[in-house]
């Protein structure tokens, strides 16, 4: 930096930079401390939010579905056709899918085992297909869940034997994840007509928005449950809300850990600046002797502390962005998936870095400014 530029335009800043460069290692260590604190806050924050986003990508798709299950006080284990009509009326105008469920013996390579079987009229509305297709008006054939198909090596066109009856595999489903009302991954799905009884283990009500889902759920509760609990209504919207709260707390906890490390870093700046005031006593005395007021001395020392915070904060932000890109790539498959929250963490972490520099520098700077020049100049 040429003496004509920075030193002349911003003399205090220039003084501060040169003072810091006097003990490079010590200044660097203090700045690294701040950098680590900033990295901890920003990276942990971004980790939390990226993790949340990756989880919410699963939960979000079913956040609008309402599950209706037989309640404690229902006169039987499953819903009857009549009860299903009641639910359908209550849910209007929302559409619903009734689900039958059974366990049948399936013959596999290793013998015979109990197998969960769902009866769903239109499984294509709930699940994605990865192989084959489900005909519009489904009367025959069988649909196999992702995991079961993989383990048993089942493909479309294969024959499956359930309770002695053979079905042709028409489609294999995609992995439906874990957060679903009906989990088809380890199951097979038959047309409802393939079930002996017309009773239903659960009903899924489809809605376009979470708000609509909540209203539908409320209507079903009002219509079906009086004093007795005939149905249990399960909303994913509420669950999503709870999960959001959980993630919020997790994030605060992670950022809290980061903040602790920044406090530690602040202590190291405090230490560096205190050492500096002791070592530079004579110099402070000279500044006072040549006519620097207390506030001028305070400014010089505070600027040094702020510079440590600025350097550490900047380094911390650069590293954090790199780490953030890694986290985003890992959780979201896109290294540049920085959202508003990530930016808030970056700006917040940077501000905390400079802030902790200033706060830690305040006491040493005040001490330096209060130093008695006579004492300071005494050898």
């Amino acid at each position: 930096m040429s003496p004509k530029s920075l030193a002349d335009r911003l003399p205090v800043l220039s003084l501060a930079i040169r003072n810091l460069s006097r003990s490079k290692t010590r200044s660097a260590l203090a700045a690294i401390g701040i950098a680590i604190g900033v990295i901890a806050i920003v990276s942990l924050g971004m980790f939390g939010s990226a993790f949340q986003r990756s989880q919410m990508e699963n939960i979000g798709t079913i956040g609008n579905d309402v599950g209706v299950f037989p309640g404690e006080d229902l006169d039987r284990a499953n819903f009857t056709e009549t009860q299903l009509r009641e639910i359908r009326r209550a849910a209007q105008p929302a559409d619903l899918i009734a689900i039958k469920q059974d366990v049948r013996d399936m013959r596999t390579r290793d013998g015979t085992a109990g197998q969960t079987v769902y009866g769903i009229a239109d499984p294509g509305r709930l699940f994605d297909v990865r192989q084959g297709e489900i005909p519009d008006n489904w009367r025959s054939g069988i649909v196999v869940g992702d995991q079961l198909a993989t383990i048993e090596g089942i493909e479309t066109g294969d024959a499956l034997n359930l309770d002695g009856q053979t079905y042709r595999v028409t489609a294999v489903l995609e992995d439906a994840g874990q957060a679903t009302l009906v989990n088809p991954n380890d199951a097979v799905i038959l047309p409802p007509s393939r079930f002996a009884e017309d009773t239903y283990t659960q009903v899924i009500v489809l809605s376009d928005t979470t708000a609509e889902a909540t209203r539908t759920a409320e209507r079903i509760r009002t219509a079906m449950n009086d004093r007795r609990e005939r149905v249990q209504v399960f909303e994913f919207g509420q669950l999503a809300e709870q999960i959001n709260q959980l993630f919020l707390q997790l994030n605060l906890f992670l950022i809290g850990i980061g903040a602790v490390s920044l406090v530690v870093a602040g202590t190291s700046i405090l230490n560096v600046m205190l050492m500096s005031t002791v070592e530079r006593r004579g110099e402070i005395g000279v500044l006072r002797a040549v006519g620097f007021k207390r506030f001028a001395v305070l400014r010089i020392f505070l600027t040094e502390a702020a510079m440590l915070g600025l350097i550490g904060g900047t380094a911390g932000v650069v590293v954090s962005v790199l780490i953030g890109a890694g986290i985003h790539s890992l959780f979201l498959g896109d290294p540049f998936a920085f959202d508003t929250l990530s930016v808030i963490y970056i700006v917040g972490g940077f501000s905390f870095g400079i802030g902790s520099g200033l706060i830690s520098g305040a006491y040493p700077a005040w001490k330096a400014s209060r130093l008695d020049p006579v004492e300071a100049l005494r050898e």
Partner: protein
């Protein structure tokens, strides 16, 4: 009188005991006068210099700078008065090691003058003391004598009425010391007073007046008759 102390007392507490550093000292400096203050260690020389230099205030008595009683001023006002009327020179030069000679000389004007004004003045002063080719050198690149001349230039940047020097030749060899004292003579020729606290015989040879302090009291004053106004 440019600067004077009237019946000044200064006491310190040292290890629970009260030590009287200055006892009823009345001392004054006239314009353009070179006064040497001598005396054994602990005789109160530095205390006197600190009082006259407005770095310290007396317990009793008064310090007058251009007829202003220093102890009535706030710390800020006293600092301003010090900046505008007094220059300091120290035994250890006390240059800021990270600043160039020019920047060290310009330092007292950091908050009061524009960069071009203070730099121009600093370079002019350095040239005046034979350091025109050393303005961009840092103190570590200068000899002791050169450093002390930088310090003298710094003490003069605000055109002070008086320059206070604490053992100005203490860290210099005799030849360099003589050169520095020659510079002091030039300063006094321009009307600026110099007060030097010293053990050095050489300084007393150059001084217009020598004031001796013994146990915090004014003792012998020699050469006094020549210059008292």
């Amino acid at each position: 009188m440019l600067i004077e102390t009237r019946n000044v007392w200064r006491r310190y507490t040292l290890g629970g005991e009260i030590v009287t550093a200055l006892a009823d000292v009345s001392f004054g400096v006239n314009s353009g006068e070179f006064v040497a203050v001598v005396g054994p260690s602990g005789s109160g020389k530095s205390t006197l210099l600190n009082l006259v230099g407005l770095l310290d205030t007396p317990d009793e008595g008064t310090v007058l700078v251009e007829d202003v009683a220093a102890e009535t001023l706030s710390d800020g006002k006293r600092t301003e008065l010090r900046r505008d009327t007094i220059g300091f020179i120290f035994q250890d030069f006390y240059l800021i090691p990270t600043l160039t000679a020019r920047e060290n000389v310009a330092l007292p004007q950091l908050f009061t003058k524009s960069a071009s004004e203070r730099n121009e003045r600093a370079v002019a002063l350095l040239s005046q003391f034979g350091l025109g080719d050393r303005t961009e050198h840092t103190p570590s690149e200068l000899s002791g004598g050169q450093q002390q001349r930088v310090a003298i230039a710094r003490s003069l940047i605000n055109d002070p009425a008086v320059v206070l020097a604490d053992e100005p030749t203490g860290n210099l060899d005799q030849n360099t010391g003589t050169t520095i004292l020659g510079e002091f003579e030039r300063i006094t020729d321009d009307g600026t007073s110099v007060v030097a606290v010293t053990h050095d015989r050489l300084v007393t040879d150059f001084a217009d007046r020598v004031v001796e302090l013994v146990d915090g009291r004014i003792g012998d004053t020699t050469k006094e008759t020549q210059h008292v106004s």
